[in-house]
């Protein structure tokens, strides 16, 4: 089984609440859920829609076709009716002009209940009955979902919707042992688990929900959250906090990230560990505020003037977001470098059921030295070492030694030094860290046939779509494989070379115009990429899109 429900309406109509309730009920009934969200950058009006897909099987992305459309406005119908599968239904209010749909007296019933806001809950009742999902699970979910004063009226609304509906399917509940979470929540939770104590940032979609999640738990977890005056302040402030010894973080979307770039370079020369993220949206400039793209890959890899070691990790899924964020803090501390997490609107916002995070798997490795271990009379913050990593002391925690960090080129003490010798040695010292970092970079995930004829290559949030495309294609012929990069800078090439040697055709899948991942492959390997499947319309690519494009490309070959 594999069903999708599309719910559409104007901004301000509360479709988020309807979707959150419905996806929670379906999740509690034990199904795997994937909810895709499409917003316009508006607070009122416009047209938003969300698609809840669910299955008893693993699912990794959204579907192009849907079984049910719940239209809160006429526009939902005109915009989306072509997505309806044959045999699918459209539910709307009786006042809508359309004829051949299921028209319900939603407005009237809600008015009778004395609360026009419960229109959505009546619709939820109807849908639950139609699908044959457990009434009790739904009712219990409602009891925990709404605030006390709203529970009764919503239960009533749900019942009414349930009773006016007809039943079509019988979906047996399964064991509910998963969590339902989006990428930004998972990222934030990863940071909290890793012990972030200072978070600062400036609101910018689609990054903001990380900050608001952390802020909601700030007092409970002892985290200072500061809404700064601008993103320039954000990274500089986070660096101050990290210098003072706490785990600190900031993040933004492309435009805000651009404002952090000077301070990113500062982190490079000061050798201050820091974790930050860029939740990409389509640029240039303001671009499409509420939509998705992977257009900042090159920007982030090269962000910061001058040359210094940094690491970039592309997050692939909510699960990845949690574990990689926690790992990023350890890597930043170990190498005393900035680690940039690259995500995007799609991953930030979609909800997905996954195995609950295992917090015992998270380790905290600070690599902060003890004052007694420092032999030099005067502490050398930038002492030359074999690894390029200098023992790190925290100011004020050290009782005798002084810690000096500097944005100029500096000598081992951190004092300004313009000599040729110091410059060359310090460049080598810092860049040596990049060589060592390379040895612990994670190779991309491989999915599919062990000897693929066709190798798909992607990074970050396209993970689910590519994975699902490969699994589907391999049902008919075991010829497909996919590599999806998480760690992307320094660029790991081993597995890419290995599978490229086996494959006849190499196809890159990414959400940008210039095929930036392909350009990295060109830069770091001798591999010839045969095709780039690109999407830069601001909407997330799914497995249907990939298969369709692949079929076009491979129509000359037998697959």
């Amino acid at each position: 089984m594999d069903y999708s429900i599309l719910i559409g309406g104007a901004a301000g109509q509360g479709i988020e609440t309807v979707v959150e309730l419905l996806e929670k009920i379906i999740k509690r009934a034990g199904f795997n859920v994937f909810t895709y969200k499409d917003y316009m950058s508006m607070v009122r009006g416009g047209h938003n829609f969300m698609q809840i897909r669910f299955s008893d099987d693993e699912i990794y992305t959204y579907n192009s076709k849907v079984d049910i459309i719940f239209a809160m406005t006429q526009e939902t119908i005109s915009k989306h009716h072509d997505k309806l599968k044959s045999g699918g239904i459209i539910i709307c209010d009786e006042s809508f002009e359309e004829n051949d749909f299921i028209k319900l007296p939603l407005q009237k019933l809600a008015k009778d209940l004395g609360n026009t806001k419960v229109v959505g809950t009546i619709g939820v009742g109807f849908i639950i009955k139609y699908l044959g999902i457990s009434y009790d699970i739904a009712a219990n979910t409602i009891k925990t979902f709404f605030k006390d004063e709203n529970i009764d009226v919503n239960l009533e609304a749900f019942k009414i919707g349930y009773n006016i509906g007809e039943n079509k399917y019988q979906l047996q509940s399964l064991e509910d042992d998963k969590i339902l979470i989006n990428g930004n929540q998972a990222l934030a939770l990863g940071a909290i688990a890793a012990g972030v104590k200072f978070y600062c940032g400036y609101p910018m979609t689609p990054s903001t929900s990380v900050m608001s999640y952390i802020s909601r738990h700030a007092n409970e977890m002892g985290i200072v959250v500061d809404q700064v005056e601008d993103e320039v302040a954000a990274l500089n402030m986070a660096l101050g906090a990290s210098f003072a010894g706490v785990r600190a973080m900031t993040g933004s979307s492309g435009g805000g990230f651009a404002l952090m770039v000077e301070a990113l370079s500062l982190a490079g020369i000061m050798e201050i560990p820091i974790v930050l993220f860029n939740a990409q949206r389509p640029g240039p400039a303001t671009g499409l505020s509420t939509r998705s793209e992977q257009g900042d890959l090159r920007f982030v890899i090269h962000a910061g003037h001058g040359e210094f070691p940094k690491m970039v990790i592309a997050l692939r899924s909510p699960e990845d977001a949690f574990y990689q964020t926690a790992r990023a803090f350890n890597l930043a501390d170990k190498y005393q470098i900035p680690v940039v997490l690259l995500t995007d609107e799609y991953l930030a916002d979609y909800d997905m059921t996954i195995k609950p995070f295992d917090f015992t798997k998270i380790t905290i490795e600070r690599y902060i030295s003890n004052e007694n271990e420092i032999e030099d009379e005067r502490y050398k913050r930038y002492k030359y070492t074999e690894s390029g990593i200098s023992p790190r002391l925290v100011p004020g925690i050290a009782n005798e030694k002084l810690v000096l960090v500097d944005s100029h080129e500096h000598n081992e003490y951190g004092n300004i030094d313009e000599s040729i010798e110091t410059r060359v040695n310090m460049m080598k010292k810092r860049m040596k860290k990049l060589d060592n970092l390379r040895t612990e970079i994670q190779e991309p995930d491989y999915i599919g046939a062990e000897n693929p004829e066709y190798l798909l290559v992607g990074f970050g949030s396209t993970y689910g779509a590519i994975k699902e495309a490969v699994l589907r294609l391999n049902l008919t012929s075991e010829k497909f494989g996919a590599l999806i990069f998480g760690d992307i800078y320094p660029f790991p090439v081993e597995r890419l070379n290995y599978y490229s040697n086996k494959a006849k055709k190499i196809i890159v899948v990414e959400q940008n115009y210039l095929s930036q991942l392909k350009s990295l492959i060109d830069e770091y390997t001798d591999i010839k990429v045969d095709k780039s499947i690109l999407k830069y319309d601001g909407r997330a690519i799914n497995s249907d899109d990939i298969i369709q494009e692949l079929n076009k490309f491979l129509s000359n070959y037998t697959i």
Binding site: K197, E229, P395, I416
Partner: protein, 282 residues
């Protein structure tokens, strides 16, 4: 206990006001007997901003205009540190003006000493936000065309609880101001008149010396309107001293776990403490 603050050889020009400011700072810290390892000196970029290299303290010599944000991060992470910011007029009122305004809004417990030589020293003599209208510089050949910014009036109107002006030519007075600023609980703004002997031939040592006068002992520094009026006085006579000083709630006090707990840097990190947050996702 008496703390000695080691001094390193500066690259400032002979006769530069920065030397006196450094002497005043050293004296203030020694008088207060604060262990150097418990002080962090944060600066941006400029001649003034080189201070962390010339005195034995913890130091964060960051980016031009960006001295205040890291100072806030440091103080919030370890409230037991004495955090001092030293930077130029360009650094503070030009490139970093936005941070200046919002730092006042936060009222974090830091002392901010602005070396105001009314010129860009390091970059060789361009006009700064406090250079007088019409003054010819190495860039503004026919004179500065922007009106000067009034630092004290600005910090006063933004709600700063400690606003003062010092003069590098009076070390005793300046070092007392610095002590007061360091002891003050909250953001303390001290604008320091400092001659730049190379690039500002108008606001010379003599120019300042002839004009500055100390606020009277009976001056009421809790009177906001008086302070504001005094802040507008900048011409033939220039007042120095504490213009305004009142108690205000600090930023730290607005975070109960910061105010009442151990410094954040001492927190024990345990990933499983966050386990409970998973509840809402079931």
């Amino acid at each position: 206990m008496k703390c000695e603050y080691e001094l390193y050889k500066p690259s400032w020009c002979p006769g530069c006001g920065n030397y006196m400011i450094r002497d005043a700072l050293k004296k203030a810290l020694e008088d207060l007997e604060i262990n150097p390892s418990k002080v962090v000196l944060v600066s941006g970029i400029g001649q003034a901003a080189k201070m962390p290299h010339y005195i034995g303290l913890n130091g964060f010599n960051g980016l031009h205009g960006r001295a205040l944000p890291p100072a806030i991060g440091i103080k919030m992470s370890n409230k037991y540190l004495t955090v001092i910011v030293e930077s130029g007029d360009g650094d503070t009122y030009g490139e970093g003006a936005n941070h200046f305004i919002h730092t006042i809004r936060r009222n974090v417990d830091i002392a901010h000493f602005v070396h105001n030589n009314q010129i860009y020293g390091l970059t060789k003599g361009q006009g700064s936000p406090t250079t007088a209208l019409g003054q010819k510089t190495t860039l503004q050949f026919d004179g500065v065309k922007l009106n000067p910014l009034n630092p004290l009036a600005l910090s006063l109107t933004m709600g700063a609880g400690f606003v003062a002006r010092g003069f590098s030519g009076d070390i005793e007075h300046l070092s007392n101001l610095m002590k007061e600023a360091i002891l003050y609980k909250g953001y303390a703004h001290v604008d320091i008149l400092q001659p730049c002997v190379v690039w500002n031939k108008i606001n010379t040592f003599k120019w300042y010396k002839d004009r500055v006068y100390k606020l009277n002992d009976d001056y009421d520094y809790t009177d906001f309107e008086l302070a504001y009026k005094k802040s507008l006085e900048f011409g033939d006579r220039i007042p120095i001293g504490i213009f305004y000083k009142v108690e205000k709630e600090t930023y730290e006090q607005r975070f109960p776990f910061v105010e009442n707990g151990e410094p954040l840097v001492k927190a024990e990190l345990n990933p499983t403490n966050a386990q409970k947050l998973l509840e809402e996702f079931y």
